[in-house]
């Protein structure tokens, strides 16, 4: 049984050079064996294809979804929603307004750290880029309708009431039915 100690092992000083050489040879052999197996693509020294795919799928899904955003809990428990799902909600709300088309949106959040893994806090502000139908005579009025639609969607879907909505009309489009 190996003694548990904090002193340098006396025998360490007596280990002869030959034993040390054999040790070095062993380590070198380990690396040579391993490199050879890896160079041959031997499956025993790497992850299975299934494991690699599983990693890449998880990463791809996460990249697509973006960070998790904390939401006010329901009566039955807590929930989060991804940044990409939030943007889908915004697009749906903007598109529901006649003459408006959603382009891009970005959010500001209350900061919310969790374990060093990025989790966003409640959204406080959304910046919208939209397109308006060519021929719409009242762009400020259109913007106000869009603002109302987005705030309303956040209130009814997520119980988020204080969302600040900034709108930039970037584009004018022809709208055909």
């Amino acid at each position: 049984m190996e003694p548990q100690n904090h002193q340098p092992d006396r025998r360490a000083q007596d280990v002869d050079a030959a034993a040390d050489r054999r040790y070095r040879d062993l380590i070198r052999s380990v690396h040579q064996e391993w490199d050879a197996l890896e160079a041959r693509g031997d499956s025993s020294v790497q992850l299975s294809q299934r494991a690699i795919s599983s990693i890449n799928e998880a990463v791809r899904a996460d990249a697509r979804h973006g960070a998790q955003v904390t939401m006010p809990p329901t009566e039955a428990g807590p929930f989060t929603i991804t940044e990409s799902a939030l943007r889908a909600l915004v697009r749906s709300a903007v598109d529901s307004v006649p003459d408006a088309l959603a382009l891009r949106s970005s959010f500001e959040h209350v900061e919310d750290q969790n374990d060093g893994v990025r989790v966003r806090g409640l959204p406080t502000r959304v910046r919208l880029q939209i397109s308006a139908r060519l021929g719409n005579q009242d762009l400020p009025g259109l913007a106000e309708l869009v603002r109302h639609a987005v705030r309303s969607a956040f209130r009814s879907n997520l119980a988020v009431s204080d969302l600040i909505v900034d709108i930039r009309i970037e584009d004018l489009h022809e709208h055909t039915d």
Binding site: G77, P78, F79, T80, A85, S92, A159, E174
Partner: protein, 117 residues
């Protein structure tokens, strides 16, 4: 002493996907990591599959979902949470926390701009 209801993650997935507005389980990084961890630790108290993790020791269920836009998000989420709690918790006094992670939201496609401006 009451024992936790013996429910598998697979049973709960069926319960969850039956809720109107739930498009399906959508595995994310959270459940992927917890699934691997449960396997390494050979945890008896945690049953995990991609998309759903049941931790009877921590009294939590984490489920990752895709939703559609048929109903308000909060209603779908609350119904899901209640359905899971109902499925799990008939005999046990301690409630389970059901954390829902909404991964995606799909609905009717938005209008697209025409080519001529």
């Amino acid at each position: 002493m009451s024992t936790p209801t013996e429910r598998t993650a697979a049973d709960l997935i069926d319960v969850v996907t039956a809720v109107p507005g739930v498009r399906g389980i959508e595995p994310g990084i959270t459940s992927t990591l917890r699934t691997i961890d449960a396997r390494i630790r050979k945890l008896q108290t945690r049953r995990a599959r991609y998309g759903l993790v049941l931790d009877s020791e921590a009294r939590t269920v984490t489920v990752e979902l895709g939703l559609d836009d048929s109903r308000p998000i909060r209603e779908i989420v609350a119904d899901t949470q209640r359905a899971v709690q109902t499925a799990l918790d008939l005999s046990d006094a301690r409630p389970m926390t059901v954390l829902v992670r909404v991964q995606s939201l799909t609905g009717k496609e938005s209008r697209q701009p025409t080519v001529n401006r």
